[in-house]
């Protein structure tokens, strides 16, 4: 367009150089120049990728004008008439020949074709064939032909092809215009082969200019050499051909080398892509523009449950649950209208279908990938089932916690460590505890928690919490609050501090519970205990009374029962002494029986008193040498019957801890029995000692009358006697007393014996029966 403009100016200024570049060459006519301007304008207006509206309209109008100008001129040549189009178009005065000269027929043809090409720039047939390109190829060939003619000064060209006569700059401009129009739609049609990033384009872009320039250049050199007479035509042709071959081989060699490197890089890149694709930890699927799966990595095959390679070629909807498939096809089309990288299904549940029919919750990221024949889509699929499970578990846990918190018989809180105890979280338990809703206390909206604390307790609470915080330990305290209805409640609180992260604020978290009931219960318990103690004292006093009464009873038994007995015995004795002759033998016999009875009753009373005393006596444990006591008792027994000969064996140093007085009564009874029941034995023998072993027992053994083992359990029952009074006298209280002594010491007493083969009484004391037991 610019050059067209300059030529127009040349015509106006009558500058010969601008008109024809070289005198004798054809000139560019004004119509030609004007048509170039219009073509340039049209190309400029139509060069946008997708232009519309007035701009495109203006572009097409310009193209149409060019078409009309070229077509009309061509028509005039054909009809061999002058339609005077030049005169119509140029309002300038006809100042001489040539100014309004017609453009040559070649130029007119070229403009006709160019105009058509511009008008059909966006047109294609079957989406592949673009008429524009073929029209432009025709223009280009014509222009190239004309240009080459100038170069080789082929005068005959004009005669050979009469319609030519195109100016040199016209021809060059047509070349430029052709390239320009082709370049206006670089991604479409045949031109795309050149502009693609693929190897072919790469090669063509390098080969084309070099080939064209070299072939033309070498041809020109040859021609010039021939003209200069350096060589004849045959040699020239030889040189020309050889140079061409060599040059082309060099060019092809060079380009092949370059292409090899580029291809290696490409293959490397492809390999790297494949590795990355396969190694990606997420399932990746590349969907071809037609909706079929082009690529799927191993993760994808694993996720969807397919064998390696099985996904290739399947419709992508195969992976969509059946109920969503129809909708998905629509979504896919929508996406391709406005392809952009985004995450699918944000905020809602997406599911993918596995080969076995199960559904997998997934998250999908989409990205458009430019591809041959449209836009492919790369989908990155993440199996979120574990995340969903974890989320579900978290939700469940949170829900459980929330339920727990809201059902707690108290208030869970989180608050700031400030004078208001500003609450940042507070559970529903707040209402029952304080009468206020949690919202009232949150951020001190209605009132601060500190306001609820009983005025007398506020300082204590503050001090207690600060002290605990300073020592970084939890705090537990009890204080009073005033609830909404004015009641004073005791509350129990436990809490601890959550240190703010990175210098953030400290928070206190804890639990507050109404402790009034507990305090009441504690008070009730204290009262009950006091009551219990009082009753125990009462009972003890009663028992003491009873004991005193019992003692008084024993006392009177001891005193009052024996007194009449002594009277009976005394007067019987006096009767026997002073009135024996009056009584007669029979009378004396009866009186003796009376005396025996009273004496037996006296013994009975004495034994009963002993038993009673054993029962009442409080243990006064001390170190007791049972061997010493046994020896003393045997000596006393021996004194009552000095004539008896009994073999005595007493193990020395049997020392225990116990009540000396009671232990004496115990041994007195056991040794006394042994003494008594050996009275009819030929070689009487009495032993006292301690058995060996862990469960050692003390024993008193004799070889006397013994007893029937069948009655062993009756031995220790008061008044139970296994022998008749004729055989051995006794009250039947002795062993009962002995048993009681042992029991008072926390021990056991058992008897072993056979009739006529002696008896052994074993006893333990207070669990202490081992050797060396001491106080």
């Amino acid at each position: 367009m610019l050059i067209g403009g300059i030529v127009l100016i040349g015509w106006f200024a009558n500058i010969e150089t601008l008109k024809s570049l070289h005198s004798g060459w054809a000139t560019m006519k004004t119509t030609t120049a004007l048509c170039f301007v219009l073509s340039g304008l049209s190309l400029l207006l139509l060069s946008g990728i997708s232009v519309a509206g007035t701009v495109a309209g203006a572009g097409r109008l310009s193209a149409a004008l060019v078409l009309v100008a070229g077509g009309v001129t061509l028509l005039s040549y054909g009809l061999d008439t002058d339609l005077g189009i030049e005169n119509i178009m140029y309002l300038l005065p006809d100042d001489g020949a040539g100014l309004t000269g017609k453009m040559s027929p070649g130029t007119a043809l070229c403009f006709t074709l160019t105009g058509l090409a511009l008008l059909t720039i966006d047109m294609d047939i079957n989406g592949r064939i673009r008429p524009t390109e073929y029209l432009l190829f025709a223009v280009g060939i014509t222009a190239l032909f004309a240009s080459a003619g100038y170069l080789y000064e082929a005068e005959s060209l004009y005669t050979f092809f009469p319609i030519s006569g195109m100016a040199l700059h016209t021809a060059l401009l047509f070349l430029v215009l052709t390239v320009g129009i082709l370049a206006a739609r670089p991604r479409r049609g045949l031109i795309a082969i050149l502009t693609t990033l693929n190897g072919g384009g790469f090669m063509a872009r390098r080969l084309l200019p070099v080939t064209v320039a070299l072939v033309i250049g070498i041809g020109w050199v040859r021609w010039q050499g021939e003209l200069a007479g350096h060589y004849d035509t045959a040699l020239g042709l030889t040189l020309y051909t050889t140079a061409n071959v060599i040059t082309l081989i060099a060019v092809i060699w060079y380009v092949a080398g370059r292409y090899n490197r580029v291809d290696a890089e490409r293959r490397n890149a492809q390999l790297r892509f494949q590795r990355i694709f396969e190694a990606a930890p997420n399932a990746m699927i590349l969907m071809a523009p037609d909706g079929h799966i082009d690529l799927a990595n191993r993760e994808a095959e694993y996720l969807f449950g397919y064998n390696p390679g099985a996904l290739h070629g399947l419709p992508v909807e195969t992976l969509i649950p059946a109920d969503l498939r129809d909708a998905h096809a629509g979504l896919r089309r929508d996406y391709l209208i406005r392809p952009e990288a985004r995450v699918m299904g944000k905020g809602r549940e997406l599911h993918a279908q596995r080969s076995d029919g199960t559904r997998v919750p997934v998250e999908i990221g989409l990205g458009p990938v430019p591809d041959i024949g449209g836009t492919a889509v790369l989908a990155v699929v993440i199996d979120v089932s574990q995340r969903r499970q974890a989320e579900a578990a978290l939700h469940a846990s949170e829900r459980k916690l929330a339920t727990l918190i809201s059902n707690l018989p108290g208030m869970v809180y989180s608050c700031r460590n400030d004078a208001d105890w500003t609450m940042t979280f507070i559970s529903d338990g707040c209402h029952d505890l304080t009468g206020y809703d949690p919202a009232d206390l949150l951020d001190n909206r209605t009132l601060a928690y500190a306001d609820l604390i009983h005025p007398d307790d506020r300082a204590v609470v503050w001090t207690a919490v600060q002290a605990a915080l300073a020592e970084a330990r939890p705090f537990v305290m009890e204080y009073r609050i005033v609830s909404r209805d004015g009641r004073i409640k005791w509350v129990w609180e436990k809490g601890h501090v959550i240190r703010g992260e990175r210098g953030g604020e400290d928070l206190i978290e804890g639990f507050i519970q109404d402790s009034s009931d507990r305090r009441n219960a504690e008070q009730a318990l204290r009262d009950a205990n006091l009551e219990l103690e009082r009753r125990v004292r009462e009972r003890t006093a009663q028992l003491e009374n009873i004991n005193q009464e019992l003692e008084a009873f024993s006392y009177s038994v001891s005193h009052d029962l024996r007194t009449p007995l002594r009277g009976i015995d005394g007067f019987s004795r006096i009767l026997l002494q002073s009135h024996a002759d009056v009584l007669g033998e029979q009378g004396r016999h009866y009186l003796e029986r009376v005396r025996a009875g009273t004496q037996r009753m006296g013994a009975l009373i004495d034994d009963l008193l002993t038993l009673s005393r054993v029962s009442r006596r409080e243990l006064m444990p001390e170190r007791v040498d049972l061997s010493v006591i046994a020896k003393e008792l045997i000596r006393e027994l021996q004194q009552t019957e000095p004539d008896r000969e009994v073999t005595i064996s007493i193990q020395p140093d049997v020392i225990v801890s116990g009540d000396a007085s009671l232990l004496r009564i115990l041994l007195q009874n056991l040794l006394g029995n042994a003494w008594k029941f050996t009275s009819t034995t030929t070689h009487p023998r009495i032993e006292f000692g301690q058995t060996r072993g862990n469960a050692a027992e003390f024993y008193v053994r004799d070889n006397g009358a013994g007893f029937d083992a069948a009655y062993a359990e009756k031995l220790f029952v008061a008044f139970q006697r296994l022998h008749s009074a004729d055989e051995f006298e006794g009250t039947g209280i002795g062993l009962a007393t002995a048993h009681r002594v042992v029991r008072k010491h926390g021990g056991t007493l058992r008897g072993e014996g056979r009739v006529g083969a002696g008896a052994t009484f074993y006893f333990t004391l207070n669990g202490i029966n081992g050797e060396g037991a001491s106080v």
Binding site: S554, Y555, S558, D560, T563, R566, G567, D569, R573, G602
Partner: protein, 145 residues
């Protein structure tokens, strides 16, 4: 000053009183035995009050045989009063009782009994005991008065 010849027998039980008298007699102890049948009477006798108001205060018994379990005033109380009064505190007192209770025994000695004797049920033993104590306190023992 009169020779101390009387024995004061403080005994509520008439049987025991008679048996004691008999036992003393059998032992050939000829001292006059004056019987008081309760604690109050014993004190009236000793301090010449009440029924015994006309009695000569200086006519002190040579020996007091004192039972513990007595009507009105307990034997231990009687003993206490005897020991508290300078007039009577030097009279030998033998506690003669049926009680075998240790507490009685200890209490008697603590208050100032000179001897404690438990009356056996068997009369022969009883007579022997009375004989011995009579011999000892009335013949062998050198009284302070």
């Amino acid at each position: 000053m009169k020779t101390a010849e009387t024995i004061l027998l403080v005994e509520d039980n008439p049987d025991d009183e008679e048996l004691t008298r008999m036992a003393l007699r059998n032992s050939n102890i000829a001292n006059t035995v004056i019987a008081a049948h309760d604690g109050a009477e014993a004190l009236e006798y000793l301090f010449c009050t009440g029924e015994y108001a006309d009695r000569d205060r200086d006519d002190r018994p040579a020996l007091i045989l004192l039972d513990i379990n007595l009507p009105k005033i307990n034997g231990l109380e009687v003993l206490k009063r005897i020991r508290e009064d300078p007039h009577t505190q030097l009279i030998p007192v033998v506690v003669l009782t049926t009680s075998r209770e240790e507490q009685d025994l200890v209490a008697s000695y603590r208050i100032g009994a000179n001897s404690y004797l438990c009356k056996p049920v068997d009369f022969d033993n009883f007579a022997a005991a009375v004989h011995q104590l009579g011999m000892y306190w009335l013949l062998l023992n050198q009284p302070a008065i």
